[in-house]
Amino acid sequence: MTELAKKRPEFRNINAFSDLPSYRLPAAGWVSILHRVSGVLMFVLMPFIIWLFDTSLSSEISFARFRAAFDSGLWFVPGVLVKLVTLALIWAFLHHFIAGVRHLWMDVSHAAVSKSFGMRSAQVTLVVSLLLTVILGAKLFGLY
């Protein structure tokens, strides 16, 4: 019989609604969980992403259909909802990308894994991804 791994503490019966909101995550914790959330979001919406790739690329006619989806909607989904889903995808990509670069940076640099740099880079990741989302979202919704 092999030696058993050291027993880790187990937390059971955690109620997502009454227990989790009282947990205060540090910035790096938010980056980490949102990295997962954004990844899963892009995984789930992958057919929509490829549909965008397909219609925007295949022909002039499909390109017109691609553009129209954001105004007059797609199938039973109204145009504004298509825009909102696209906005969510824009955020997901930006966050995943920037958090990923932070990850790679921390893999190759010893200086990047200090406590203070971890916090600063996490804050920068959250702010920059949201800021770029707002800028691109304003363009998407035709504000400029």
Binding site: E3, L4, K6, F43, S56, L57, E60, F63, L104, D107
Partner: protein, 121 residues
């Protein structure tokens, strides 16, 4: 502290070591470079980007080859990532297996579609 390396290492789970970790980072790097390459071509094109310019970006053979490599990298990257998520949050073996099967079908289907779009251009 008990010894947990070499021949006495306690093996639970799967894919210990470097392979998944490294493949996820290499594929991420490739997709990152691809993002910058596409972005640069959009930004540095003259005039508004209509169908011709957009399709023109993906029309050259080197861009098709690069995009194909990125589609495969994406498939691989997402598989490693989703598997990590399932291993962390889904404990019942049956449910985990079902989700993994679904992920394989979903990803290969999506990759096939993307490749088809790319190569009929």
């Amino acid at each position: 502290m008990s010894v947990n390396y070499g021949s006495r290492r306690i093996v639970v789970g799967a894919h210990y070591g470097l392979r998944d970790w490294l493949s996820q980072r290499v594929t991420a790097g490739l997709m990152g470079v691809f993002t910058l390459v596409v972005l640069a071509q959009v930004i540095f094109s003259r005039g508004p980007v209509g169908y011709d310019k957009w399709a023109g970006i993906f029309a050259s053979q080197w861009m098709k080859v690069l995009t194909f490599a990125v589609i495969v990298a994406l498939l691989w990257h997402v598989w490693v990532g989703m598997r990590d998520v399932f291993m962390d949050y889904v404990k019942p073996v049956g449910a985990r297996l079902l989700l993994q099967i679904f992920t394989i079908v979903w990803l290969t289907g999506c990759a096939g579609w993307a490749v088809q779009v790319l190569w009929r251009l």
